[in-house]
Amino acid sequence: MPSLLQRFLLFVFVLWGVSATVFLALHLAPGSPAQLLLGPFATPDALRQLTTELGLDQPVIVQYFRWLGHALTGDLGTSISLKQAVSSVLYERLANSMILAVPAFVVATVLGVSTGLLSGLFRRGWVDHSANILMFAALAVPVFWLGLLLILFFGLQLGWFPTSGMQTPGMERNGGDLAHHLVLPVLALSLAPAAVVAQITRSTLLNEVKQDYVRTGVAKGLSHRRAIVRHALRNTWIPVVTTLGLEINYVIGGAVLVENVFNWPGIGQLLVQAAISRDYPVVLGASLILSAIFVAVNFAVEASYGVIDPRLRAHHE
């Protein structure tokens, strides 16, 4: 088990690697941003001028370290298509994405843990069987199709919920309206991660129930229920916390798709638009932020093992 410091260094290394990988990949790609910006009928002079302006005539390494230097001070360059500072565009979009992702994360965790515990406690009962089928289905259905289905039934046919955007056009932004717009995207986004969490919770609980200490507890007179609730449940937490790292993968990846299905003006929608229009500064900034969140959450999850389980703390020393 690596120490906390080692994990932190790995965390920094991965972030740096992510930035370098993205930067290199985008700059080795065919077609220069200057050409894309000016269109097919640009004169060679204008092209050359813009190339110099954007610093694209420098070697890639020079460009990368210049970009990295700016990025470390919070300056992520200017969007080619939006003509705005990337950092300010990202800030707004990221806030919108959080409004979608945080509730989805909470719903997925609560739904997943409770389903997992229930189907583990009432193993082979009807709760367990129907939960298993639901979990299997939630993982087999692509998140973007689930989004379309929700729009089709609850949005278009039943008309219960709005199907697009964050607010009703022409209406002032308010909490109730936003919550109404959130229902379907959050549902679409949380089902798959909930299924993952439920499966892991269930199998962990079943594994703990089989352990000697539960049998010992029952042998010395605890009721079976009490042995499970007081003792086995506690040990279920570590794998469940581990799944939070896995969950964030589903939520971030899913958010990119769900935002596009529900026309939610978040960072994922921005990223896809930027990828299609080859707005490299935006692609670079957006992917860096998303992977930074992803890696940071995973780092926090690993770092929390020691807090949850004292046995793991000993190995750090």
Partner: protein
């Protein structure tokens, strides 16, 4: 396995027995296999089965219901035959998913084997590379690769394949690292066998029971991921159909004809479930054999 050796029927090695048992009593594999064969047949026979040209536009007959005038599954917003588009689209989705899964599994297996065999700095370099690639959520990495290469079916294939390599590499490495420590590898090294031969002839056969089931499950995963990229407009480009791009197009008019959104999604789900069932069944039967 010590448990298995205690069972009377496995105590004496019988070469024919495992092969038979592999196919007996594994409902997952049978169900998954039937679904896989069904889709493979549809993709192979698409030109014979498709009633019409999948890209033939006929605006007069747009958005027709099931069974309308030889259109068994109806037509889309441009009057294109939905059945033909599903069949030809399935070809593209399935071929690119199988291609991506093969590419990802072979690259990942090669990297995992090399890391496990050479250990030391080679292992460190390979594992740190997978750390970096796994620093991206899956679909994000695929989007980035498409952003660099430009949107197309082939680039989407490459993108999802590369995004999947670190997962296979990790899996293979952890298994191959165990094989690496077994006596017969040490024996092969002592006999002076070449590196390539040890990896190819001694290590690879011992991890195949891990990689082959993974290959099927990866193919299922690739179906949903290539479809996701096409859905986002980063994969197969219009007017060519694949299941993902059909879903993307359906968004604007699914209110008038729900089946345009239902059918491609349903086919994706059935295909993915089939591949997963087969993979799970194969894995459990291969594990029983060990």
């Amino acid at each position: 396995m010590s448990d298995a050796s205690l069972r009377p029927d496995t105590a004496i090695p019988q070469p024919a027995a495992p092969a038979q048992r592999r196919w007996k009593g594994n409902g997952y594999m049978t169900a998954g296999g039937v679904i896989m064969l069904f889709f493979a047949a549809l993709a192979l026979l698409a030109p014979l089965l498709a009633p019409l040209d999948p890209n033939a536009i006929n605006p007069v007959q747009a958005l027709r219901p099931f069974g309308f005038d030889h259109h068994v599954l109806g037509t889309d917003n441009l009057g294109r035959d939905l059945l033909s588009r599903l069949l030809y689209g399935g070809r593209i989705t399935l071929v690119s998913s199988v291609g991506a899964a093969l590419l990802a599994t072979s690259l990942g297996t090669a990297l995992g084997l090399i890391a496990a065999y050479y250990k030391g700095w080679v292992d460190t370099v390979v594992m740190r590379l997978t750390d970096i690639l796994m620093g991206f959520p899956f679909i994000l990495l695929a989007i980035l690769i498409v952003a660099a290469l430009g949107p197309s079916t082939v680039n989407a294939l490459i993108a999802v394949a590369i995004a999947n390599v670190p997962f296979t590499a990790r899996l293979v490495k952890s298994e191959a690292a165990r094989v690496r420590e077994r006596e017969f590898i040490t024996a092969a090294v002592a006999l002076g066998a070449r590196h390539g031969r040890i990896v190819w002839a001694h290590m690879l056969p011992n991890i195949i029971s891990i990689t082959v089931p993974t290959l099927f499950m990866t193919t299922g995963w690739m179906i949903s991921q290539t479809s996701a990229l096409s859905f986002l407009g980063l994969g197969t480009q219009p007017p060519t159909a694949d299941w993902g791009s059909m879903l993307a197009e359906s968004q604007n008019y699914m209110a008038s004809l729900p089946q345009v959104a239902m059918l491609p999604g349903l086919t994706i789900v059935v295909a993915v479930v089939g591949l997963n069932l087969f993979g799970v069944g194969l894995r459990s039967s291969l594990m029983r054999e060990d």
